[in-house]
């Protein structure tokens, strides 16, 4: 405990240097901006910045990326409330309830409760992260390759089943990502695989190309082809942006409950912030003295889910830092950023580079304060970003997307890949395939293969080790349940429905 505290103080020493403060501020500002802008998310932004930051000091770069990750959450709520277009599935609830508030002239209070709620949740969650992460890291030292492999399998199944329209589609996305991850030179035997004799493929397909292709090119094609002519109405920023006494009274409990839902869901590999926001919304509705207001703009319905969303995104840093296990697309890209600097998140990260880990954690506290200041008084400035005409916005996005892809190694072949992956992304969007499992599969696949082969070379090819090691067996069991339980429930429901139909 006191040891943790000393390390954290050390971390603040790292985070409070002028360079790192500046990078944190840049990250938070950029994050808020891209969170507000529809069509750009933190995953895309960090992917685009990866090549440009390769020569930067890793601590500073990661502090900036964390700022973008956080800022995106803050900024996203602004768009959700004023435009009723949730930037990501986790802000669906905010969009629903917050937009209703805005329509009733309470946009200011809605933005306020979202921003302060995000701040409260983010700070509490960072505190929990500070306390939990070293414990998990120590515990994770006991893990061998078999346990890591099982853990990755569990992450694969949860990411695929929880995100998106149906588990099957999630698995299709996951296997696509895993397959793309196979392309290139095999890390252990240095043998080229699936490169089809194309020298440009020997290094594999870069994560930047895949992420930018799916998130920028695919998304732009999809929106232009199907929603090019829809016009959106922006709600005016009306009413005081400060909350009144009643708003505070109704918000603070919702913030705390939201945090309590968000953090644990974020820190177990359970796939994203969607579930805790829905849980928080349902709870607030049940506990509220004004249940009739829900659906028409109840402040608790914005406060709780926003807090849950933020707490869960902080929570997802626990498995990322201590186990190297990403549970969302953005976390996967941050993992790629670590790899770019030759760092592998996991328990050894805490012992080998404490300055980096604790500097990063300390910067989260600082970033939260910065974001609160950036978002509340300056909200009018961010709202102006929403008035950028869409043709210009997406034109700009694609210019930067191609720039990022081309900048990797100045090859037109990468641009061709970008377009092909963009087309795949377009088809995936059209038919409701989730994109995140592709990214997670691509990043985690090669690591999983390494652990898998390491396990088998220790056991001399004996596959049963995965089931005889207790931790690995339990994790694989849970992974199986994650697949089977929803499927069984659906079966049961279908049967019951059929029975009702027969008797009725």
């Amino acid at each position: 405990m006191t040891e943790t505290f000393a390390l954290l103080v050390q971390g603040f020493g790292v985070a409070l240097t002028l360079q790192n403060l500046l990078l944190c501020l840049i990250g938070c500002t950029l994050g808020t901006a891209i969170g507000v802008l529809p069509g750009v998310g933190p995953a895309l932004t960090i992917a685009l910045l990866l090549p440009a930051t390769a020569k930067l000091d890793p601590t500073g770069a990661l502090i900036m990326f964390a700022g973008i990750y956080y800022g995106g959450m803050f900024g996203g709520s602004t768009t959700a409330i004023l435009l009723n277009t949730p930037g990501e599935s986790a802000s669906i609830v905010t969009a629903m309830e917050g937009n209703q508030m805005a329509k009733r002239g309470r946009a200011g209070a809605a933005l306020s409760t979202a921003a302060i709620g995000s701040f409260v949740a983010g700070t509490i969650a960072t505190l929990l992260l500070t306390l939990v992460a070293p414990i998990v890291a120590e515990w994770a030292l006991l893990f061998g390759p078999a346990e890591y492999f099982a853990l990755m399998v569990l992450a694969f199944t949860t990411v695929s089943t929880v995100l998106g329209a149906s588990p099957l589609r999630g698995f299709v996305s996951l296997f696509l990502g895993l397959a793309v991850g196979l392309i290139g030179i095999d890390a252990i035997t240095a043998q080229p695989r699936f490169a089809l004799g194309v020298p440009d493929l020997l290094d594999g397909i870069d994560i930047v190309i895949v992420a930018v292709g799916l998130f920028a090119v695919g998304e732009t094609l999809y929106l232009a082809a199907y929603f090019g002519k829809t016009t959106e109405t922006i709600e005016k920023l009306s009413g005081s942006i400060w909350m009144n006494k009643e708003d505070w009274a109704r918000s603070w409990k919702a913030w705390l409950r939201g945090t309590a839902f968000g953090f644990p869901f974020g820190s177990i590999p359970a796939g994203g912030a969607e579930i805790p926001t829905f849980l928080s919304y349902a709870t607030e509705k049940k506990l509220s003295k004004h249940p009739e207001e829900f659906g028409k703009g109840a402040i608790e319905g914005v406060a709780g889910p926003e807090a849950a969303n933020n707490a869960s995104s902080t929570g997802s840093l626990v498995p990322l830092l201590t186990l190297g296990l990403p549970t969302s697309a953005t976390a996967a890209i941050i993992l790629a950023a670590f790899q770019q600097y030759g760092l592998q998140p996991g328990p050894t990260l805490f012992s080998n580079t404490p300055g980096l880990v604790w500097g990063l954690i300390a910067s989260l506290y600082i970033g939260n304060v910065m974001l609160l200041i950036l978002n509340l008084p300056l909200v009018g400035l961010w709202v102006r970003l929403l008035t950028i005409p869409r043709p210009l916005l997406y034109g700009g996005i694609l210019v930067f997307a191609t720039l990022g892809a081309y900048g990797l190694r100045q090859s037109w072949f990468d641009l061709l890949l970008l377009y092909i992956i963009g087309l795949v992304g377009f088809v995936m969007r059209r038919f409701d395939f989730p994109v995140a499992p592709v990214i997670v599969g691509l990043i985690l696949g090669p690591l999983a293969e390494q652990q898998f082969r390491r396990t088998l070379s220790i056991s001399q090819g004996d596959m049963s080790v995965f089931l005889t090691h207790p931790i690995s067996a339990v994790l694989l069991g849970v992974a199986t349940l994650v697949i089977l339980v929803p499927w069984a429930l659906r079966r049961l429901r279908a049967k019951r429905l059929a029975a009702v139909l027969r008797t009725g």
Binding site: F171, F175, T220, Q410, R453, G461
Partner: protein
Amino acid sequence: MLVAAGVLALGFAFAVGTWLLPDAPSYARVGTRLFPGLISSGLVIVGALLLREALTSGFSAFPDEHRDRFDLRAFAWISSGVVLHLLLIAGLGFILCSSFLFVAVARGFGSTKPMRDIGLGLAISIVVYVLFTQALTLSLPWGAWLPELS
């Protein structure tokens, strides 16, 4: 249907690719083939399941908001922007290609002010070019046809 068939085909393609991989016999008996084998069989399985779903219950069991609204013109504008960019960037240089891409995407989104788009596209491309080549010292193609600046 087509999507499902595509996934299935990709699965088989990877399976064949795995089969063709020379398996260097290592002391651990786990070579380069096992893991790709697992993944390609996974792809085949999900592809088959998807195909079954497409054939039996219909592919989109969800409210389909965008049937028959596919805007080919918009799709073609954006595609042409990206494809011309990749074909011509080495020859025409970054600034012109990116400006054209910007204009094409704006057109795709129904912009009716081509002059504004061209002006903005050029401005953004030039700023980015200067920023990247001067401040970040990354090289971007200037364009073979343009007179050398020095």
